[in-house]
Each structure stands twice: as C-alpha cells, then as structure tokens.
Symmetry: C2
C-alpha cells in the first residue's frame, strides 16, 4: 500500500458523535466511517483489521473441529415464531415485509436456522457431536447505538452452535469452544476475564461471558480474591439465616410527614421516633419500588420490588431478572390502576400473597431468568418481590400505605411475606461472594464472547431429535457460542492506543510496517522504494508513505495515528547511511544501517508477535 494512492484521509478532529477513544481514533485514522446511527462503512485499513480478526477466529474454529457454513441475514418469520423470539425480541428486531406481504426479519442471531439445518440433514446419534459456525452480518435495532463498533445496529459476529446427544457430550463441545475462545482472545491480544452470566433472551441454563476489562465497557462484573467472577447481572446474594422474632416488639404505625424518600424518612424517624441504641439509617428501611413489566405478549404488569433502603435497584439486574420481558418505569396510568399504591408510602400491607384479592398465578409464562421472578399474577393484583436479604425475622421501617405515615418494627415472616424474591438490588464492592470466596470487587468490561448451554430449548421448539443406539428418539442438546467480530476491532483499539493514536498488535494490524520517506531527496525515495520491495519479498505487509508534498511532521503524526507496529523513517539519516526503526507501542527507536534495515525490521516484527 502506498499513501499516495491508498483510499485514506486522516482527520485532525474527533468526530462529533464519538464518545470513546476507539471510536474517535478509528474514524480519525481512516479505518471506518459512519453510514447511519450504529451502522459503519469499512475503509481499506479497517477492512484489513476485520479480515485479520476473522482469519484468527476461523483458524481456531477449525482447530476446534467446528465447520463453517453461512446463513442469510434476511429470514422468514416462521422459525422465529416457533420459538417465540419474533415477539420476544420486541423493538430490537428489524422487521420487514416482502412484495407479497410476507413477514421477514434481519436476523439478530441464528439459533433457529442452525437447529433447522441440522434437523434437515441429520437424524442419528452417529452424526453427532457436531459444531457448526458462521461469520456473518447481524442486525439489532438498538435503542441507543453507541461507542462506534462497540454497539452497532449492523455488525459482524461469529456464532457457533453445538449439537450433542446428551449433556455429557455437550459438556465436551462446550469446553472445546470455551478453549478456542481463550486461544482466540490470546491471539487477538485481548485481555479477558471469564464470568458467570445470565442467558437473557437466548434461553438455556449455564452461560459464561468473556469480558475485556475496560472503563468504557457496558457490562459490570465482580470478582473475589477467591476466584469467583460473574457479570453483575448474574450475581446471587448470599441469603442470611432467618432470625427468631419472638422477642421483637409489635409493629406500630407512626406519623412521618413529608417523607417520600429514604433520606427524608431516616431524618423524620430520627427526629420524631428516635431509636434508643443508635440512630436510624437507610439500612433499617425497606424501600418499595414500583415498576411496570412489559411482557413479550404485550401484557403490562405492575410489580413492586422491595429492597433494603440503603441499596438502589440496579436497572440491568432488574432487566436480567425479568428477561425476555422488558422493564419500564411505572407511570401515572399504572398508579391510577392501583390506588392502593400511595406514592412514597407504599408498604407490604397491600402487597404480596397476604394482601387479599383472588389471584391466578401462571407458573410457566414469563419465568424470570434466574427463577426468582417466576409466577405471575394475572388478576391485576400487584406482585411483590423481595430482595433475598429480607429474610424472616428482619425488622423494617417501611410505608404504611397512608399519606405521611410509615410502619415501624414490621417484621418479615411475622408481619408480611412476598410473592417471591428477586435479584435486583445493586451489587456493591465489598459485598460477599455467593460462594464464600471473599469480598467482591467491581469493574467494567466489554462483552467480547458468550458461551451458552442452550439445553433443549431450540431443539424442542423446532423438533430436532436423533435416534440413539437403542432406536429411541432423543431431543438434541445444544450450545451457542458468540464472538463480536466487528466489536473486537474496537475492543482491540480500546486496549491498544495512546493519546497520539492507535498501536495495533502485530496479529491484527492492517500492515506490520509503515515506511515514512521524508524530504524531497530522490535518493531517500529510492531507498524507501527498495526497502518496501525487500519487506514485501520477506512476506511483510507494508504501508509506504511516498507522498512528495507532505511535511515530515504530518507524516509522523499520521503514522502514530494509524498505529502500525513498526515505523521505518527514511530521511535525513540516509546521508550517514542509516534509517530509523521505531516501535509504535513502546516508543523504542533505533538507528540502523540502511543495508541492515530489512533484516532488522523483519526481526523486530517477529519479536513483537
């Protein structure tokens, strides 16, 4: 590649819509351009990085025994209807009609299609185990596409699917993909942590995420010194033992005027009803948060979540608990439909299974991902779900369901119960790990990969069975394994850059060497030409800045912005017979005799692999 002809223009200024460094730098250095919100065009350098990521993924998939196929992006509604995902995906799904008014979608993921193609071709346990994959363009109509390639609406994914006759065989297929992921992220130069995860709209049971630690990541995860690691959405709360409450005083309702927040309630309690041993704190209060749950079938349910007053409800944990339903803020209409909910003074007396009113609980529909939110009241009564810490015997200050009044010494198990528990309260640094392995630390990460045990959700819905050794029909056990391929380009850029630009690892760099010829001396360009030829012959990819009327300063700045691993400056030093070899990441520079330049560059690139 020569700069004089390469389709590339670097930009001095950050694009207006870019928030994170990788997005800013990939646009400024001429790797990508925005075509629409969350939809990007790949320019020559960007396409090369993407191709390098794809190649590494393909090599490791092949090494893991996975076979590549390729599905369409435009798919008919029917298979997604069979698994209910046509509905469950809600507004995240791009839907369209063809000229005959048939429903189509732009696939966000391909579980259904892989299941059906295996059903089409295979019928015996002898055909399994099988793992198929594709590298393919996917679509999700994100509400807030952000951060460039990190969360797009059109993006490239590797999705693999395993098919096994039983859970034991599945475990081996799952392990093979998980191992391949470790090798892939190692080769891409991406640091990662593997965390327990929820499975969201995918269904299934066990799942783990590969997160790249990064402050711009959208995921929060926890780790303990003892080795526990989980996405914050998947963290379970250690349940304290129930306590005896025989000696506890009876509940009593007190005036607490103007106390619609936890802070004002604590102040009012301390002022009007002081506690003998210590002041009241937020942790003594039980906060009841009203949310509206939009179920995929269109039904809207009002749910109250009870959490200790010193913790917020974490919207992502709340969403995960109710997935695939979506959680929205409760609005005026919701409160109007439930006059028993007195804003700011809501308490258990009008909530939960003891609150009276006939209820019909549907145990199958809308089961929450973690099982906690299972069962749903269809009668219009309000379901009450409690944080797991609110065990029997804990005592609380909470709403009395009357304007300006709260109830004190309300004891769980004695004075109220709930419809179930829910993991919705925020996780905090210092919280205990659920497995007893120590206190949790919190960090942010970019989700780069996700491996799922799908169980038989899709094979059952779509009728994928095989005959086993005894001629008996067996529902196939599936797994699903995704990598964000285009997202990886951004994640690598996020991990490898400084204030001057990108600094690609050799394995994914669009070229390994940037030759910068400076000045106007024809001997300089002749030497640079010769070096480009020699490096090309040595099998290296070279970007050669052969522009004649561009200043050295601009060329150096471009080289640092573009971020190839090694830069060779051919310029004034040539008079003394030397060129300069710079390593982009470390900044290490050496003067090298021009005769040795090609060898030194080859060795330097090799040393950086």
């Amino acid at each position: 590649m020569r700069s004089s002809t390469l389709f590339l223009r670097t930009l001095r200024d950050d694009p207006a819509d870019a928030e994170v460094d990788s997005h800013k730098l990939l646009v400024r250095a001429g790797y990508i351009r925005r075509a629409a919100p969350g939809i990007y065009t790949w320019l020559p350098l960007g396409l090369r990085v993407l191709g390098n990521v794809e190649r590494i993924v393909r090599e490791e998939m092949a090494a893991a025994g996975a076979q590549e196929i390729h599905f369409p992006a435009l798919l008919p509604r029917e298979p997604y209807e069979a698994t209910n995902r046509w509905t469950e995906y809600g507004p995240n799904l791009f839907r369209l009609k063809d000229r005959r008014e048939n429903d189509y979608l732009l696939a966000p993921t391909h579980e259904e299609m892989f299941t059906l193609v295996v059903k089409d071709l295979y019928s015996s346990y002898k055909d399994l185990a099988l793992t198929l994959y594709q590298i393919q363009t996917k679509y999700r109509d994100e509400a807030r596409p952000r951060a460039g390639l990190l969360r797009g609406r059109e993006f490239v994914m590797k999705d693999a699917y395993s098919f096994d006759v039983d859970a034991e065989s599945h475990a081996a297929s799952y392990a093979a993909q998980r191992d391949a992921y470790e090798r892939i992220f190692d080769r891409l130069g991406l640091p990662y942590v593997i965390v327990a995860a929820t499975s969201g709209a995918m269904g299934g049971s066990r799942s783990e995420e590969f997160l790249v630690p990064s402050p711009v990541g959208e995921d929060t995860y926890v780790r303990s010194a003892g080795g526990y690691a989980a996405n914050v959405e998947a963290v379970t709360t250690p349940v304290p033992d129930a306590r005896a409450y025989d000696d506890l005083p009876a509940a009593h309702v007190e005036d607490t005027p103007d106390s619609t927040t936890i802070a004002t309630l604590v102040d009012a309690a301390n002022a009007l009803h002081p506690r003998a041993d210590r002041p009241w704190t937020a942790a003594d209060t039980l906060k009841n948060v009203v949310v509206a749950v939009a179920h995929p079938d269109g039904e809207r349910e009002v749910v109250v979540i009870g959490v200790p007053g010193d913790r917020e409800v974490d919207p992502k944990r709340l969403e995960a608990a109710f997935a695939p339903a979506e959680v929205e803020q409760a609005g005026d209409a919701d409160f109007a439909a439930h006059p028993e909910l007195v804003k700011g003074y809501i308490g258990p007396a009008v909530l939960g299974p003891n609150a009276g009113g006939e209820r019909e609980v549907d145990d199958d529909a809308h089961a929450g991902a973690d099982g906690a939110a299972r069962g749903r009241v269809r009668s219009g009564a309000v379901r009450y779900l409690l944080d797991p810490r609110v065990v029997a015997g804990t005592r609380w200050v909470t709403g009395a369901n009357e304007e300006g009044r709260h109830v004190f010494d309300l004891v769980a198990g004695r004075d109220f119960t709930a419809d179930g528990t829910i993991e919705a309260a925020e996780v905090r640094a210092g919280d205990p790990a659920p497995d007893g392995s120590g206190a949790l630390e919190l960090a942010r990460g970019i989700e780069m990969g996700h491996v799922f045990d799908l169980g038989t959700k899709y094979s059952e819905a779509l009728g994928l069975t095989v005959l086993d050794q005894n001629g008996k029909s067996r529902v196939v056990h599936m797994g699903s394994y995704g990598i964000g391929v285009s997202r990886a380009v951004a994640a690598i850029a996020e991990a490898y850059h400084d204030d001057k630009g990108l600094a690609w690892p050799v394995a994914v760099a669009p070229a390994q060497v940037h030759i910068v010829a400076t000045g106007r001396d024809e001997e300089v360009f002749a030497a640079a030409d010769a070096l480009a030829v020699a490096l090309d012959a040595a099998g290296l990819d070279v970007l050669y800045d052969d522009r004649r009327k561009v200043s050295p300063g601009v060329k150096f700045a471009d080289a640092e912005l573009i971020g190839l691993p090694v830069t060779v400056v051919v310029g004034r030093g040539l008079a003394e017979g030397t060129v300069e070899v710079r390593r982009r990441a470390s900044g290490v520079t050496e003067q090298v005799p021009v005769a040795d330049a090609a060898d030194v560059v080859v060795e330097t690139v090799a040393s950086l692999r």
Copy 2:
C-alpha cells in the same frame, strides 16, 4: 475433510422447486439449501466454492488497482432519495423502518454510498483516478426468484466504482475493469461473450454485459459474423430510407368484420379486398399494441406501440425502452379511460401528434433508456410510438378506429406520424446487424458481469466534485462494474456438469481430490489415510470418504455428484498394489501403483489447472 464428519448429506431426488440443473445439483450434492424463496444457506462445500470465486475476484481487482472497502447492507433512505432510486426501484426494493420510524432499505447496489464516501474523503484531481470495490451481500425483492442462485433475493456481488476527473481518464479505468473481468471469467472457467447493453435503472450511457452462453440464461443476445454483439434489449434497428409516396393510392377504409387479430385481418383482407400482385401478408399490416406504463412517481400512462404485424412486441425490449418505468398490460380501466381506442381496430387516426387534443409534453421526466421513449404526454392523451421500420412512404393496412373496419394504403409520413420511435419489436435471427456486419444470430446467456459508464449522474445528484489543475470545480466522471459472485457459482455449475453430477474446474472446486476408500479392509483405510496425509502435505485440499458402512456404489455416486476434479479409489486393487485415479470431467481412469499415487494425483491436478 472427512465424509464421516463433514456436514453433508447428498440427496437422491431433485428438489421440487428446482427447474435448472445447477440448482438441482447444488442442492442434491449438499452445497446449498433454500431458506426462503430466492434466499439460500451455504453449506460447507458451497461456501468453499463461493470463497474460491471471491478469492479470484479479489486477486484480479487488486491487480487492476482497485481497493477494497465494505459498505453496510442496511442503509438510510436519504442518499437513495437524492438520486430518486428510493422510488425508481419500485417493489424490487426491500424497505423497512427502524424503531424511530426512520426509513431504511436493504441496498440492491451502492452507487450512492460510494459516491458519498469519495466526496467525504477526496477533493482534488490529484486524488484521482480511483477505483474502489466491495464484495458484499445485496438484496432485491425479485417478483420471480428462480433457478436457485441464478436469480436470488439475497445474493453476493462484487461491485466496483471508478472515479475520474474526465471522460478520457474514465476510459482507462473502464478498460482496466473490463480487462480484469476477462481474466476473472477466464480463471473461473466461464465462457463468455461481451455484448452491448442498456443501462436500466443504473443511469449512465455506455454499458457492456459479460454473458455466459446458456440455454437457462434469462438474457437473449445477438451476434453477427462481422463481430457485432448486443443484448437483445440494446439492439437497434437499421432505419430504412424514407420512400417517395407521390404515386401511392389514397387511403381507403374497408369492412373487415371479425378481424381483431393480425391473422384474421390478413384472411379478411385476402378474401374481401384481394391485392392484385400477391396475397396480403402480416408484414403489410401495422399492429397497434396498447400498454400501460407505470412511472416511478406512481403515474400511469397509456401508450400505443405500432409495429409491423409480422413481429411481436418483445416484453424485455419494451421494458428496457421505458426503464426505470415499468410496463404492464393495459386493462379494462385503461380502455375505459380512452374510448377512442377500439379494441382490435386501433389505428393512427386517433393517435400521435396529429390526433388532436391539447398536450403538455414533459421532456425531462421519464426519459426512456434509449432516448426513443422520451417526452411524455401528461394530459391524458395517448402517446403513439412507432417501430423504426415504419418510415415515411411505407404503406399499411391498419385499424380504422371503428368496430369491423380497417384502413388500407395508409402511408406513413403522408397520412400519419407518431410521437416518436421505440425499439420494442422482437429481434429475429437473420435481422441485419445495425452496424452492417451481417445477419444476426440469437442465443441465450446468463448475465455474469456488467460494466457501465455512469457519466456524472450520481456525482451530480450527490455533489461529488474535485478541483482541477486550474482550481476549477469538476464533476467527477464515474463508472460502475458488477459481478454476480454467488450467481457465478451457479453459472459454473451450469457449465460444468453432466447427468451424474457436478464437475468443477480445479480453480473453484471445494477440494481438488476425492479419496474413496471401499470395503472394510483395514489396510485399505490405512492406505487411504496415508494418501490423504501425503496430498495434504503437498498442498492439495482433499475430501476423504472414510465412511465404514457405506457401499462402494453409494460412495462412487456421491463422488460423481459432488464433482471434485480427481477421485482416487483405494479398494480391491490395493491387493495388487494399485489405486485408481479418475478424472471427473473426462472420465479418464488409470491404475497407479500405490507408491506413486500421491505424485500422480499432484501431477493430474496440475494438468487440469
């Protein structure tokens, strides 16, 4: 690849929806599967062929100096609105809305996006010439998807675009792509003819198609012995000289009852009004065909086409003449709106510029592709367009605009004129080539490539200009160059198969060698294993049929169906120390000592390249 694990099942029977051999065989041999009408899934062998085609295209694009980039498939409406193609594409365009109700499309082609990205990055004549390309998934909502990959609704194309400061420079860019196309089709093993073409909805002027001769092709083309070649849509009719008509008799209206077709008219004329010198023939009559033209803006126009009665109107030529408008059959409502059109007896007296009635002609809108159909009557009057053979002085029997009556000796130029000419009459074998190079032959072909001189249509619409040497703004001259990449897979299959299956050329075959081990003798499988290892080490791709419980007959049939260039049978001959090497295309078979097998196979594959 080993048959025991490869994701492949061959089928005994042709798929019910398949009409052409390539479609039948690609499905039966396990290369593709249908996901929806005109939408296909690539199975492992098919994806390998597609990858080989893509690789050859990429190599030749690079050799021609084109740079690869990659655009999204999902694009916003605005750029396509600016060029009017959002409307012009009509029902062929997949349109959809995102969650914010913004309009999007699935791009059928990317002229707009390429134009805009060059406008975004470049501004000087020094940046040009530039040729960019992508290999990308495209979408067209075809009314009749057919023939498998030959006409799909989701398909892979290579589309390249050239950008030049002037027409002279453009000619060089055009030639470079055209030359690359010749090399590409040569390497793919596709025989082709280059024919003059119309540019359809693309706009622009000069265009040529690369057609692969095939009876299943959708395109008809003509060739003369003297070297003229054109798509039938682009053939122009040599215009005869006008003739003197001073001596011709006056027109006279005669009774011709029950003569609403050319055949019945000729019979009636010969029976009731016989001609002295010879009988009347269809060639003496002027047939007036009523069509309805659906313009992209939604307006519907009734047009009458006059052609010699011995020729049909060719629907494809008619469509090409009116593109981007669509042509439909005139219906009852059209006739009701024009009571002057007496079905079966329509004649020039109520048509054309002399037919009376006020007209407002809009010369810019809806210009036909060949210029013939330019100008459109907006007043509701019927436009009359004549075949170019109907020159002044020709005399005709044609409708008298009264039930049961025709007019005789109606002379063009003397008794009637029209609003223009149109190339809509069928082209026949034996017709003269427009350049005088002899009589035309007709044949059918598959359109594999299309090269266009776009002129400044897109650069003007989207404001792509550069400053020239003198600092003057110049509108960039563009070219567009497409290859149907997924279609090429089918076209190659169409060109290389027999009644037993596919017979791939080495350059695109999913593997070069098929090792078939027969019987149950472990020594046979050991020898086959060793041969597979040796061929792999020699850099060949091998499919090794290592299935233990499958009969030799089934294995041989599979090998012929799958169609790899060379098959090696390791079986009974092994007792005598030989294996059999078969060439799929020629059927030539030789017995080879097992020790020489790898060398012979390597040489055989090399000889087939």
